[in-house]
């Protein structure tokens, strides 16, 4: 990289000079600068500084090429499209480099209103784009805000790349706030739920660690990584003649399953009478969906989508998700592809006073798992679920293993097996048709009710978007059952760690990713979730992100209403008090007004189902102009 040929000054000297100047002012007359947001230094301390460290004769106050410029070169070389961040003084050098040296393009700074939103937006973005954006945050207060969203991304195996500001050298910290914003080991706060972190002490170290971090984040299991950008490194000018090198960015090939285990899996699947394929976080890339279709069609085996990713077309005759319990109960071979909770999939668990469980599968059924999660399991947080009784387990990326598994299955196909598969395919198609009929009948109940049924809401939205290039950027049940999903970007899965507050920012991040493709992003937005950090509405308006948010406004943290009811019933008291502390009523929140206050087109609250279609149409007109819009719909609980 090019480096400045002009004379430069070290930050330490720069700061000493500044401190001396300030001290002189303080000593002369004024106790503290006007409008200061930091505590004033005491006059005696300032005088002491002057005595020990007189100002240079000619004070150097400017620099042409700060270290942050090179850090930005590194981030540009990696290929980040955006920086999601609140502003923060611990990365002010990097921020300035992004907007001035980098021209605020590739990456572009997206202004967020909460660090948890920044990370959750990055999480949602990665679900659509398959790669991370960069998040900036304070190393202390910012990362503490962000930590819940980091945990969600970790559990969801989503790549997020964080750069956090910190000032390690205590001798150069500004008195007051900068001390509160500095930490010995910034990464420790989230080390239990990130894949890797580092604290570079030189620019070359930063370059190598940044590329290493990106590679680690993108190698399955993909996960969040964190890099500390030291304040001194950001603000100290690059030394004249300093040779800096950005390493070549070569991502690792994803790990494939062992060839012997793949062959044995194929043998079991081809021989099985009732095989079932269960996909959870399987489709990492657009290729994943196509490969899973190929495997299912090769075997004419039913697929159960657990919706961690957009794994399988919803209308495909082999999509038998509606019949999951029946199929699992009758299966002789179950293949789990990146299944988060295999044990919970093959067992029934009762949440009564005495918690009990029992297997729901037939005796002798074979369980096979392919999961990259086995390659990276940590101790403290217990997201790894109960240990399942597996017959074959491949610590490998499921999507990367599918081509070899498909070929292995094809090699074993005999005429007899093909005939058997054709018979199975016919039965499955009939069963799917019947299940679809039952599903539609279910949707018809409470069709005209107020509050509006969630099935009605889903189908009113579907009627408006089905002929567009749409992307559902929320995790919502009725659309999964009733809409026609067949493209990888049409669904983004869930939060991972079930930390409330993920939905709204993840939808926005996904919508930012969809924007350049001209897709209509639609989110069915839970009310409790939006209230965690509603500032994302402002971010969406400020940056002109076309996103339709349709409120699933049941005026409650409804999951918790049900949990409290369970406790009251169990204790045989107060069964009419479950709404205390769990609902969001009195006053009811006017989400449309809230949206409008932040520059978002707002409709509602809609309580009559007949008003919903026209409101959605008006909102989509705003979205088609490149604006965000929100329709507040007062709904049934679920």
């Amino acid at each position: 990289m090019a480096s400045s040929k002009k004379a430069s000054v070290g930050r330490r000297n720069f700061l000493k000079g500044t401190a001396g100047g300030a001290a002189a002012l303080l000593a002369a007359s004024h106790p503290a600068p006007a409008q200061s947001t930091e505590p004033a230094r005491s006059a005696s301390a300032a005088v002491t500084t002057v005595e020990r460290d007189p100002s240079p004769t000619v004070e150097v106050l400017t620099a042409d090429r700060p270290g942050a410029d090179f850090m930005l070169d590194v981030l540009k070389a990696i290929g980040f499209d955006y920086i999601f961040a609140n502003p923060g003084s611990s990365f002010r050098g990097l921020h300035e480099s992004v907007v001035n040296y980098g021209g605020n393009k590739n990456p572009e700074f997206i202004t967020c209103c909460h660090e948890e939103s920044s990370v959750a937006m990055a999480h949602g973005y990665s679900k659509i784009e398959g790669k991370p954006v960069c998040v900036f945050a304070h190393g202390t207060v910012g990362l503490q805000h962000a930590s819940m969203a980091v945990y969600n991304a970790y559990v969801d195996r989503a790549p997020v790349f964080m750069v956090i500001g910190n000032t390690v050298d205590a001798a150069t910290r500004r008195p007051g706030v900068e001390w509160a914003h500095s930490v010995q080991d910034a990464g420790v706060l989230v080390r239990d739920f990130t894949k890797w972190d580092d604290m570079p002490v030189s620019l070359q170290h930063f370059a190598e660690s940044a590329v290493r971090a990106y590679k680690i984040a993108m190698t399955p299991p993909t996960m969040p990584v964190l890099l500390v950008a030291d304040g001194d490194l950001q603000e100290t000018p690059i030394r004249p003649g300093e040779r800096l090198h950005i390493p070549k960015i070569t991502l690792a090939s994803p790990p494939q399953g062992d060839s012997g285990a793949v062959a044995e899996t194929a043998r079991l699947l081809v021989a099985a009478e009732n095989p079932v394929i269960i996909a959870d976080r399987c489709a990492r890339t657009p290729a994943g969906l196509k490969l899973l279709v190929e495997l299912a069609e090769t075997l004419q085996a039913p697929v159960i989508n657990q919706y961690g990713r957009m794994n399988f077309p919803s209308a495909h005759r082999l999509n038998q998700t509606e019949r999951a319990r029946t199929l699992i109960s009758n299966a002789d071979v179950i293949l789990g592809l990146e299944v988060w909770d295999f044990w919970g999939t093959v067992n029934n668990f009762r949440d009564q006073l005495v918690r009990t469980s029992r297997p729901i599968t037939k005796a002798g059924a074979k369980f096979i798992s392919i999961s990259a999660t086995d390659l990276n399991t940590k101790s403290n947080y217990q997201d790894f679920q109960r240990f399942p009784d597996l017959d074959l387990s491949m610590a490998a990326d499921a999507e990367a293993t599918l081509p070899a598994l498909i070929e292995a299955c094809k090699r074993l196909l005999s005429a007899d097996r093909k005939n058997a598969f054709e018979d199975r395919a016919k039965k499955l198609a009939e069963a799917q048709h019947e299940a679809r009929g039952r599903m539609l009948a279910e949707a018809s109940y409470a069709w005209d009710a107020s509050p509006i049924s969630t099935a009605r809401l889903a189908m009113e939205v579907w009627a408006q978007v089905k002929d567009k290039d749409w992307s559902l950027v929320s995790n919502t049940a009725w659309p999964q059952r009733l809409w026609n999903f067949d493209k990888h970007y049409q669904y983004i899965g869930g939060a991972g760690g079930a930390g409330v507050g993920y939905g709204a920012p993840a939808a926005l991040g996904a919508a930012i990713a969809n924007k350049k493709y001209g897709r209509v992003s639609v989110s069915i937005q839970n009310d409790g979730d939006l209230m965690y950090a509603p500032g994302v509405l402002w971010t969406s308006a400020h940056h002109g992100v076309p996103l339709l948010s349709v409120m699933h406004n049941n005026r409650a943290y409804h999951q918790e209403v049900m949990h409290l009811q369970r406790m009251a019933n169990r204790h045989q008291r107060g069964i009419d008090t479950a709404e205390i502390g769990t609902t969001i009523k009195n006053p009811n929140i006017d989400y449309a007004a809230m949206a409008r206050s932040m520059g978002v087109h707002g409709e509602g609250p809609i309580t009559d189902p007949n008003d919903l279609g026209p409101a959605l149409k008006r909102a989509l007109e705003a979205v088609s102009r490149g604006e965000p819009a929100l329709v507040d719909v007062v709904t049934q609980p679920r």
Binding site: R325, S444, V561, Q565, Q636
Partner: protein
């Protein structure tokens, strides 16, 4: 991300007993006692939470038996907190729930 299936067994079993109850009070109790939380305000059922209960509920005796001693995930409603009279009123509400229009007549379900 385990899929929790919603069955409609409760709603589809044949009606074998009738009770007299106050449907209006039953609707109120259905709300106050939290039945709506899992089964919806109109007893239509909730995704992953509870099955449809009406219209055409199962026999009162079967409903009563299940409510008092559920064999699945449902929390128990003992006689200490919901009297037989209250349950009869709730049952009357379930009986009063109207049948929706046929699917073929709902345009949005035929797209």
């Amino acid at each position: 991300m385990r899929v929790i299936l919603v069955t409609t067994i409760l709603a589809s079993l044949p009606l074998v007993a009738q009770t007299s109850g106050d449907a209006r009070n039953g609707r109120k109790l259905f709300e106050n006692y939290g039945c709506y939380q899992c089964h919806g305000h109109e007893a239509q059922g909730g995704l992953g939470t509870g099955p449809r209960l009406g219209p055409k509920p199962i026999a009162f005796a079967a409903l009563q038996r299940y409510v008092r001693q559920p064999t699945g995930q449902m929390p128990p409603y003992t006689a200490k907190v919901v009297s037989d009279k209250d349950l009869a009123d709730i049952y009357a509400f379930l009986q009063s729930v109207k049948q929706p229009p046929p699917v073929k007549d709902i345009l949005l379900l035929n797209n």
